[in-house]
């Protein structure tokens, strides 16, 4: 027996064990057992196990007895206190000692330190409790790092990954997160301050992840033995939180920029709380705000106060929601329109305790709305009743709506007009201008335009109008339709044209009257001045011969004066009252008649007269004028014949555009029209060195032709001949 037990007593045995006999007395023990549990002075040998200063539960003793009786081995976990006061989880292995001689006569107890195991289990339990929470530990004494499976999952590391303290910290996102965790860990290790914070990790796979990290250090004698803690994946929660914060920030910005004031009124306590915007809305400063119901009431316009009070009352009673508009009067006297909405908050008993609401300024909105309503009304009224033509026109030129004014101007009924487009009734010459301006409006180069243009009336006549076109845009700024206004100025234009013609006529007549006056004055003066000169000579002349000559000259001057007066008379007669004597006369008969009257002269000159005047040609003329005209042109042809050839005069008539033309074509001297063109029909203009030329014939001819609404013009080449064209109305 002695030998059998003695082998257990060897001091170099690594495990701590103790051997008990059947009475549970200590027979033998290992040195480690002694060192672990006892001080050196303690006597263990021969002591009863239960007397040893080890806290062993009763259960444990039963196990020992059980082992003695049945020889069965068992395990027992207990927490023991070591001699240095540390507590330790241990596992006792209870083995029955068997020798060849005896059975169940002793027990071998082996103690195993299982505190690590227990710790692990504790950590694991903790990790399991909280979802997505992993744990870790850094043991500085044994220089070991432990990551729980969940920690590994959070870090997304492979199974064989071997972490270290440094690599653990390096998982935190570079920058402020990594700096923060380094600081926290250092602080914990040096000062024992635990941490609990939220940081971003970058996992092994590169994903960013919000984690909550908690940790603490175990410090003994100023030395950090280990640090340990947990990781929690809070990514989803954090995301939500951040999102909420963005929304909240956004709401704040929105209320600030839209200047929506927010207020809260605690009914029982009469506490009114305003945000900053509210003060702006009421035009008062935060310092002058007393914070009660009265503070709000004071700002309201006198005429709205009663109603507002009532409405607040209804909201508190729950009769109706507070949703209203009122005016506030600023201390400066300025009046603003406010829109207010509030919600009533009730307690469990259903009693209103709080009103929470908003205010915003609708002054501009209100005035704009008012203006819009007014302008809408006015437009509709104007559209209906305006004498000016008005229409709404689609972008492709179709009428959408037309008013009576437009229908009246254009002569169509509304139904007829709506079937047409703007272009259908536009006068072709004005199409390009209209279209190009409309294009400019369509392309936003201008908002509107005004154009004087012409339309076709239903009857086919022209309608002059001033068209104003304005583009109307929809709320998105897109072109919607045109408003066209058409002011009918046809009467004005026609009156203008008549007036213009009248002015032209008057101007012409004035001018010719003025010319006439000067011509008359000139001619009368030239004779009278001659006469005064001659009479002066006569008064002093004594020589009889000379006196005779002077007398002759005086007679000539007197005759000339009489001639001039007669000519002028003739001119004046042409000017006055010619038209009432107009009648339809045969042109040929007059030509023949005149030719006959100057037969002698024609014969004398051996002139060849070729008459090609149709019998059927009748003209509307004053007979005496027609005679005078034909005679003058005949005699002119004879007078201004060429010196080098015999006269050939062709008299021809033809019809052109409802008028009868008579052409007198000669082969005479011709007139230099470049030099004299403007003067040829002028009074007292002569162009040839002909003694008979008085410069009155063509002047009278022109006046006679024009007084019969006709016209005269000449074509001529020097030394080749002239052709006079007379245009007269058909008879």
């Amino acid at each position: 027996m002695k030998t059998a037990f003695s082998k257990f007593t060897t001091s170099n045995f690594t495990d701590a064990f103790v051997v008990l006999d059947s009475s549970l007395k200590v027979i033998s023990y290992s040195q480690k057992f002694k060192n672990y549990l006892f001080s050196t002075t303690d006597i263990i040998q021969g002591q009863f196990f239960i007397d040893l200063p080890i806290n062993t539960p009763d259960k444990f003793l039963k196990k020992l007895e059980n082992c003695l009786e049945s020889g069965k081995s068992s395990l027992q976990k207990t927490k023991i206190k070591l001699k240095n006061d540390t507590k330790l989880w241990v596992k006792w292995k209870v083995n029955s000692l068997e020798s060849s001689e005896e059975k169940g006569k002793g027990i071998l107890l082996v103690i195993e330190d299982i505190s690590k195991e227990i710790k692990f289990n504790e950590l694991l339990l903790r990790a399991e409790k909280v979802s997505k929470t992993g744990s870790w530990e850094v043991d500085f004494i044994n220089d070991k790092l432990f990551w729980s499976p969940m920690t590994r999952i959070i870090h997304e590391v492979p199974k064989d990954y071997n972490p270290s303290l440094a690599s653990g910290i390096n998982f935190y996102k570079e920058g402020r997160y990594r700096e923060l965790i380094t600081r926290l860990v250092t602080n914990a290790m040096e000062n024992g301050v635990p941490w609990d914070t939220e940081l971003i990790l970058v996992t092994y796979k590169g994903n960013e992840l919000w984690v909550r990290t908690q940790g603490e250090a175990e410090i003994k004698d100023g030395k950090c033995l280990r640090i340990f803690g947990t990781f929690q994946d809070i990514h989803a929660k954090k995301k939500k939180e951040l999102k909420y914060r963005i929304t909240a920030d956004r709401l704040k910005i929105a209320t600030d920029t839209s200047q929506i004031g927010i207020w809260e009124y605690k009914i029982n306590e009469n506490i009114l709380v305003w945000d900053k915007n509210m003060y702006q809305l009421y035009g008062i400063s935060e310092t002058t705000f007393s914070g009660g119901y009265e503070a709000w009431e004071n700002g309201i316009h006198v005429d709205d106060k009663e109603r507002c009070n009532a409405e607040i009352g209804y909201a508190i009673e729950g009769l109706q929601n507070f949703d209203t508009e009122f005016r506030v009067v600023w201390p400066s006297g300025e009046v603003r329109n406010i829109r207010a909405i509030a919600k009533t908050e009730k307690n469990k008993q259903g009693k209103a305790i709080k009103l929470i609401g908003t205010n915003w300024d609708i002054t501009e909105l209100k005035s704009t709305r008012l203006k819009l309503e007014r302008s809408k009304e006015t437009f509709a009224e104007t559209f209906k009743n305006s004498a000016t033509g008005m229409a709404l026109v689609s972008l492709d030129g179709k009428w959408i709506k037309v008013n009576n004014g437009l229908c009246n101007s254009l002569g169509y009924t509304e139904e007829e007009l709506l079937l047409l487009t703007l272009y259908d009734i536009t006068y072709p010459e004005d199409m390009v201008a209209s279209k190009s301006l409309l294009e400019e409006v369509l392309n936003n180069k201008r908002d509107s335009f005004q154009l004087e243009k012409r339309y076709y009336h239903k009857s086919g006549g022209l309608v002059h109008a001033i068209l104003t076109v304005t583009m109307v845009k929809d709320e998105f700024g897109k072109n919607s339709y045109f408003i066209a206004q058409m002011m009918n100025i046809t009467q004005r234009i026609e009156a203008e044209q008549r007036l213009k013609a009248l002015v032209e006529l008057t101007k012409g007549q004035n001018e010719s009257l003025l010319n006439f006056a000067h011509i008359v004055s000139h001619n009368l003066r030239s004779h009278s001045s001659n006469m005064s000169m001659l009479t002066r000579f006569l008064a002093t002349e004594e020589d009889e011969e000379e006196r005779k000559g002077l007398n002759t000259m005086l007679k000539n001057a007197t005759d000339s004066l009489a001639d001039t007066i007669e000519q002028l008379n003739e001119v004046v007669q042409v000017k006055t009252g010619a038209l009432e004597n107009m009648q339809s006369v045969s042109l040929l008969s007059y030509v023949t008649k005149i030719e006959h009257s100057i037969k002698g002269l024609i014969k004398e000159q051996e002139a060849n007269i070729i008459v090609d005047v149709k019998k059927s040609h009748f003209v509307l003329a004053v007979p005496a004028y027609l005679e005078s005209i034909i005679l003058n042109l005949y005699t002119n042809a004879l007078k201004y014949r060429s010196d080098s050839r015999k006269l050939v005069l062709k008299v021809k008539s033809y019809i052109k555009e409802d008028f009868i033309y008579i052409a007198f074509e000669d082969n005479g001297k011709g007139i230099d029209l470049k030099r004299h063109g403007d003067k040829i029909f002028g009074m007292y203009k002569t162009f040839h060195k002909n003694k008979d030329a008085k410069g009155i014939g063509l002047f009278i001819t022109k006046n006679q032709v024009e007084s019969m609404d006709g016209a005269i013009h000449v074509e001529s080449d020097l030394e080749k001949g002239s052709t006079f064209f007379i245009k007269l109305k058909q008879g």
Partner: protein
């Protein structure tokens, strides 16, 4: 009193010419007098005599209303007369016209010294002579 050496009348009215000649004789106006009946004749005649003598009349009395070439046309063409020392020639318009447009138009011609309204009197000619003599 000094006489004008060379004088010229351009007018188509024989009575006026007669009268003017007669007054000129009375007051001994000029040594030599040339008469033309219209602008064209005058232009041609003056050109011809300039070719021969290199002289132009010191004074021209010019009528406005004449056949063939009137006074205005003459003025226009005489201004472009080649090679002549026209600073020495003084033109007087003599006309029956009291039309202000004519009086205004005369101002456009530097050649024209004055506008004399018909009938011409001995005083008019003496005045012209005095100016020219000085």
């Amino acid at each position: 009193m000094r006489k004008v050496k060379n004088c010229c009348i351009i007018d188509d009215d024989p009575i006026f010419i007669y009268g003017t000649k007669r007054i000129m004789k009375e007051i001994e106006f000029s040594e030599k007098l040339t008469i033309y009946n219209n602008g064209e004749d005058a232009l041609n005649g003056l050109k011809e005599s300039f070719k021969l003598t290199k002289y132009l009349p010191e004074i021209i009395f010019l009528d406005l209303n004449m056949p063939i070439m009137n006074g205005w046309e003459f003025l226009d063409q005489f201004s472009e007369f080649p090679d002549h020392n026209n600073a020495k020639t003084i033109i007087y318009i003599i006309s029956s016209s009291v039309d202000p447009r004519d009086l205004e138009r005369v101002k456009n011609y530097k050649l024209v010294n004055n506008y004399i309204l018909k009938p011409i009197t001995p005083n008019d000619l003496e005045f012209v002579l005095n100016i020219t003599a000085v």
